[in-house]
């Protein structure tokens, strides 16, 4: 009894420094932001913050702009994570089949992932430039377009191009996770299935894929949470335009808080984002997580 209490004390002692830091730089700010979300608050010290209860939340929930932005963010999240998963799985499978140069290919995957987001955004913005961009140059010389296209001038196109830039950055992450998971799978089951006459696709879809579930889950949760909060890449490539077509929920929060000075409203927004991401994570875990399959 006293030993276990001592143990517990030592344990807490070990956790203490981490707790202090996390509480100080995470919990305290979160609590004060939550508090601010019930006020008509500005950054200025000179104006009093006025308590307005749930008005910030109610205003947001009744605002068309908010819902359109949420929709847009969900579109960004679904399409980019979906594409990343699909391509990631394909690439992982490809590397797993060990084509010529697969080791080098696997290492190369790290490059897009390690390139800083700001550099990534800057690079793609330059590639998409309507008059001097490499995308137009390439497509034109390949004969795929007969005149230069102004890429970032239609909301939907701009959104898809931002997604492409994000996919370039994040596919490697998913491909690497899945490839690592593939490498640990037992081959016996598939060999048996092959003997029974299952074709390659059946083997992949019915045997391999289910075994990858927990790796896929991890990739999905991490990437969904990240994608839902996308900010940097949009700030650099489109600044939310054209016609707000690439304004996601984080970008809107940034605008509300820092450009418009509605700190309370921004705080409420950021709480709604947290709520959304939490709900998504729970849904994923509910549908995909099987506790008995803890190991890969």
């Amino acid at each position: 009894m006293s030993l276990s209490r001592r143990e517990n004390l030592i344990g807490l002692l070990f956790i203490l420094p981490a707790m202090i830091v996390i509480l100080g730089v995470t919990l305290q700010p979160v609590v004060s932001t939550f508090y601010l979300s019930f006020f008509d608050a500005s950054l200025s010290k000179l104006t009093e913050n006025v308590f307005i209860g749930f008005e910030n939340y109610l205003n947001l929930l009744g605002d068309k702009v908010f819902w359109v932005t949420i929709q847009r963010t969900i579109y960004f999240t679904l399409v980019s994570v979906g594409l990343e998963l699909l391509l990631g799985l394909g690439i992982a499978q490809l590397i797993h089949s060990r084509p010529f140069g697969w080791r080098f290919l696997r290492i190369s995957l790290i490059i897009p992932w390690a390139v800083p987001t700001i550099v990534n955004g800057t690079m793609w913005r330059w590639i998409y430039n309507a008059d001097y961009g490499a995308l137009n140059g390439l497509l034109y010389q390949l004969g795929l377009i007969d005149h230069y296209v102004a890429w970032l001038t239609q909301p939907r196109t701009a959104m898809n191009l931002v997604i492409l830039a994000d996919v370039w950055h994040s596919v490697p992450f998913i491909a690497l996770i899945l490839q690592a998971a593939l490498a640990t799978l037992p081959v016996e089951l598939e060999e048996a299935a092959a003997v029974d006459g299952a074709n390659a696709w059946q083997r992949f879809a019915l045997i391999r894929l289910p075994m990858l579930r927990s790796a896929v889950l991890v990739a999905l949760v991490i990437r969904t949470v990240e994608a839902f909060r996308v900010f940097d890449i949009i700030y650099v490539i489109t600044n939310g335009g054209p016609a707000f077509g690439t304004t996601t929920i984080s970008f809107l929060t940034y605008l509300e808080t820092f450009s418009f000075g509605h700190v309370g409203r921004g705080a409420a927004l950021s709480f709604l984002i947290s709520l959304f991401t939490l709900v998504m994570a729970i849904i994923y875990i509910r549908f995909l997580y099987r506790p008995e399959e803890r190991a890969l």
Binding site: I22, V25, P29, V115, I118, L176, A180, L269, R294
Partner: protein
């Protein structure tokens, strides 16, 4: 014969992947060694006719005519190195203590603590920034690298604990039982037994944290305005001024900013994979 054809087919399939990875990077590098005239030429000059290192020279050995951003770029690289490596070291130290306790010592509320730690990942940066800003100004840390180190710990430390717990969990308990019988304290067990064994885990954790800290833009944008504190992502964004945008400088800056993380990841590539797997095991 058929086997051979399959091999060829497989290789053919990798070609789009190769292009997808390397074309954008190649264009980044080419842009960084092109003159402005070549950058703006149509049809596009895929291979610069007059390649120049001017953009790099401007950054590395600034002359009088170089822009303010290019001139101070190396200082921001140093700031970034300082911030990223401090965050890494602190997270590893503090994080491994906590992770050890969570993994080995029977602590009450273990799963609660772990879920709480995972929960911090759901918090958007924007919801932290204003209170952090106010604190930073109050304690006189605004505009210093320290404020970035502190704020980056908000995402680095939970991440470190999470990863390290999953690494420590894979270490057979018998190993340290031996040490414990010898009467070693927890602290000594941690440093003498656990940490050396989980070196790969430490390396991959360190790598992930370093990369994330190097990458961070939002906090840095809002918390720093002096050269003494600005980090590389901020400097890159600043190549776009109110009027002139120094495209070549921006591209060269981008290449330089990408070198440390890319190099580190390539050097430790196998730890990245093991880190990803370990993170995955936990789900």
């Amino acid at each position: 014969m058929r086997h051979r054809r399959n091999k060829l087919l497989l290789f053919a399939l990798t070609i789009p992947v190769w292009l997808f990875i390397y074309l954008p990077v190649a264009w980044l590098i080419i842009s960084s060694i092109s003159t402005r005239a070549e950058l703006l030429s149509t049809p596009i000059h895929w291979i610069p006719q007059n390649p120049t290192l001017k953009n790099y020279i401007d950054i590395l050995t600034p002359g009088t005519a170089t822009s303010e951003v290019a001139k101070t770029f190396t200082i921001t690289v140093r700031n970034s190195l300082l911030v990223a490596s401090s965050v890494t070291v602190i997270s590893l130290l503090v994080g491994s203590l906590a992770a050890y306790a969570l993994s080995r010592i029977r602590v009450r509320f273990r799963s609660g603590v772990l879920i709480g730690i995972m929960g911090t990942r759901m918090i958007p940066e924007v919801s932290l920034v204003i209170p952090l800003y106010i604190i930073a100004v109050k304690v006189g840390l605004y505009n210093t690298p320290s404020v970035l180190i502190l704020t980056y710990l908000s995402f680095a430390l939970p991440f470190a604990i999470w990863l390290l717990v999953s690494f420590f969990d894979t270490i057979p308990i018998e190993l340290e039982d031996a040490a414990r019988i010898d009467g070693a304290s927890h602290l000594r067990t941690l440093f003498a037994v656990i940490l050396p064994i989980s070196l790969p885990g430490l390396v991959s954790t360190a790598l992930f944290i370093f990369l994330t800290a190097w990458d961070e833009f939002f906090f840095a944008l809002l918390f720093t305005s002096t050269v003494a504190a600005k980090t590389v992502p901020v400097a890159i964004a600043e190549f776009a001024g109110r009027y002139v945008v120094d495209v070549g400088g921006m591209m060269a800056g981008g290449v330089i900013a990408a070198i440390p993380p890319v190099l580190l990841s390539l050097l430790f590539s196998r730890y990245i994979v093991s880190g990803l797997t370990a993170g995955a095991v936990k789900g």
